[in-house]
């Protein structure tokens, strides 16, 4: 078991945002979390990555308990994510966006940084090299020196994934990667997600509203409504589950 969430419950004040969420993720799986707006999907990502600390329950990566750890510790353990509304470091260059994510892998200390001694130079050179190699894979090497805010939307999405991969994750969390894409771009994105999973040996959790993408590439689906898991299963089962139809279309809906 790679990532395991057990009875995860989270309250915002008196409001229950996530209740009794369970997830078992095997190495190499591709799982989707879907649900209507406000169902608590992004909250689950925030709980896994330590932005919020779960009120109850436990989340484990391998044998390591993640609840209570800070975001940067969790990222260093091997969980990286992207954001629903792109959160790049806008004023900084494309390559710096990637190099910031190498923070956890670089080893030199404060004194070496202040006086540019010891491992500083070799590590900086290697950092540029690695960043450029990664950007090349994502076809972003030609814009490495541009401000990331000047990139077109599709490139910004790609850069966000590249930046997440620069932390060398085992688990990648993608929060609505297809938001704002047209059908042909979604087709490309599906190929792309399959490809990075293989290439970087990833386990992926995906939040998405685009059913074509979810049904097309995910092996398992978790459906949330008002913080509670209402269904889990393979795409076929979910498509015909009456509770899912009810959550999306209302009571008594026929398909």
């Amino acid at each position: 078991m790679l990532l395991q969430a057990e009875h995860v419950t989270h309250y915002f004040g008196g409001l229950c945002a996530v209740s009794d969420f369970n997830l078992n993720l095997e190495h190499g799986e591709l799982v989707a979390i879907i649900g209507p707006n406000g169902a608590g999907k992004t909250t689950i990502f925030n709980l896994i990555t330590g932005v919020y600390h779960a009120t109850q329950g436990s989340i484990r990566l391998g044998d390591v308990e993640l609840v209570g750890k800070t975001s940067n510790e969790i990222t260093a353990l091997g969980i990286a994510r992207t954001f629903q509304n792109i959160r790049l470091f806008k004023e900084l260059s494309v390559i710096d966006n990637v190099r910031i994510a190498q923070y956890g892998q670089m080893k030199y200390g404060t004194w070496e940084a202040m006086f540019h001694l010891g491992g500083y130079q070799t590590e900086e050179n290697r950092s540029i090299e690695n960043a450029m190699n990664l950007l090349e894979v994502f076809k972003l090497d030609s814009v490495a020196d541009e401000s990331s805010k000047n990139l077109p939307y599709g490139m910004q999405r790609r850069l966000e994934i590249a930046r997440a991969l620069a932390t060398h994750p085992k688990v990648l969390l993608l929060d609505e990667p297809a938001a704002g894409m047209n059908p042909s771009e979604i087709g490309q994105l599906m190929d792309f997600i399959r490809w990075i999973r293989k290439e970087f040996d990833l386990t992926i959790i995906l939040i998405e509203h685009q059913m074509r993408l979810v049904m097309g590439i995910c092996e398992r689906i978790n459906v949330l409504d008002f913080g509670a898991t209402i269904a889990t299963g393979v795409p076929k089962e979910i498509q015909n589950n009456p509770r899912v139809l009810e959550a999306y279309l209302g009571e008594g809906a026929e398909v």
Partner: protein, 351 residues
């Protein structure tokens, strides 16, 4: 491509080309440093300029240290600290006490660098104490915490009779010389520039852009913030020590909110997130204040007015978020180009 477009020959592009040519000559920077250091000895030795101008030069150095160090927190990190005069006063008092009460007079000129170092270290320690609780919260709170700190430091010095209470410490030996000012200024600029172009410095930048995303990209934001704040306070203390030994008299009133505001103005005038901007801002502000001295009270009307105009037309200051290429480490400047050239070379035989 022999045809030159018409707009390519305006004075603006011509100056830009000339400027780029100058910036490409990186060897000029060490040469200028050596020349500057030699001049800092020669000027007082042979009285190349009069005493008044020498004093202004020292103040420029001190203000550049203050501006660069505050820029690390307010510009690069995007927080808002108003307590810089407080850290400066810690450095000033520590070194002034050492000079007037503790150290033997005969050795003072030799021990001066250690005094400055001591002032900086104690200021850094105080900076750590202030930063630990205040960085648990976010954003605007730091402004309030540092403001409170400034008031506390001032009233502490006002109430300790051993350091003269509200009357302060008079008769401090004039130990701050032009070479020492030059040395500390270059050291401050060099260390802060080095820090900014390291993994920690990139962490500092990412905190300004988006703190949550930064934490999620494995940056230890808490540690990075503490480091930046402590380095910033250290150099504020250094500047304070130099300041005390050129003014030869310090009192709690010297280090009030007005002094902090002065430093803030220099930072935002020169430009946030820029070493070059800090140097320009500190220099211009110091010189302008002196040039406008004959205007008397009107000076304090004109200077803020200039600032308002600047904020309207250049809200990020003169050099906001830009940098002289001389100050950028070579691998940051040409790393991507080298990588592309290497790739082209390795691709060529294959095709």
């Amino acid at each position: 491509m022999a045809t030159i477009p018409l707009e390519g020959t305006t004075w603006r592009t011509r100056w830009k080309a000339r400027w780029d040519g100058l910036m490409a000559k990186r060897w000029m920077l060490p040469v200028l440093l050596v020349v500057g250091f030699a001049l800092s000895f020669a000027i007082p030795q042979f009285n190349l300029v009069n005493q008044y101008v020498q004093l202004i030069l020292i103040y420029i150095g001190i203000n550049v240290i203050l501006t660069t160090s505050l820029n690390l927190v307010n510009g690069y990190m995007g927080e808002f600290s108003v307590g810089h005069a407080g850290f400066m006063s810690v450095g000033a008092y520590i070194s002034a006490i050492l000079t007037t009460q503790l150290l033997p007079k005969a050795l003072l000129p030799y021990l001066f660098p250690l005094e400055v170092l001591a002032g900086g270290l104690v200021a850094a320690l105080v900076g750590l104490v202030v930063a630990l609780p205040s960085f648990k919260t976010r954003g605007d709170y730091l402004a309030i915490v540092t403001l409170a700190f400034l008031m506390i430091v001032k009233s502490v010095f006002e109430n300790i009779e051993a350091v003269g209470g509200p009357r302060g410490i008079p008769g401090i030996d004039k130990l701050t010389t032009l070479p020492w000012t030059f040395f500390w200024t270059i050291l401050a600029i060099w260390v802060i520039r080095n820090f900014v172009y390291s993994r920690f410095g990139r962490g500092v930048l990412s905190i300004r852009e988006d703190e949550i995303a930064s934490d999620l990209m494995s940056v230890n934001t808490r540690q990075v913030k503490l480091q930046a704040f402590v380095i910033s306070s250290f150099f504020a203390g250094v500047a304070g020590a130099l300041f005390a030994h050129v003014l030869q008299f310090i009192s709690p009133r010297v280090f009030d909110i007005i002094k902090s505001t002065d430093i803030l103005i220099m930072v935002y005038l020169g430009g946030i997130g820029s070493i070059a901007g800090s140097i320009i801002g500190g220099t211009i502000y110091t010189v302008l204040l002196e040039i406008l001295r004959p205007l008397g009270m009107w000076r304090m009307v004109l200077m803020p007015l200039l600032l308002v105009i600047l904020m309207i037309y250049r809200p990020r200051g003169i050099m906001g978020l830009r940098e002289f290429r001389w100050f950028v480490p070579l691998h940051d400047l040409i790393g991507t180009k080298l990588w592309r050239r290497k790739k082209e070379a390795s691709d060529a035989p294959a095709s």
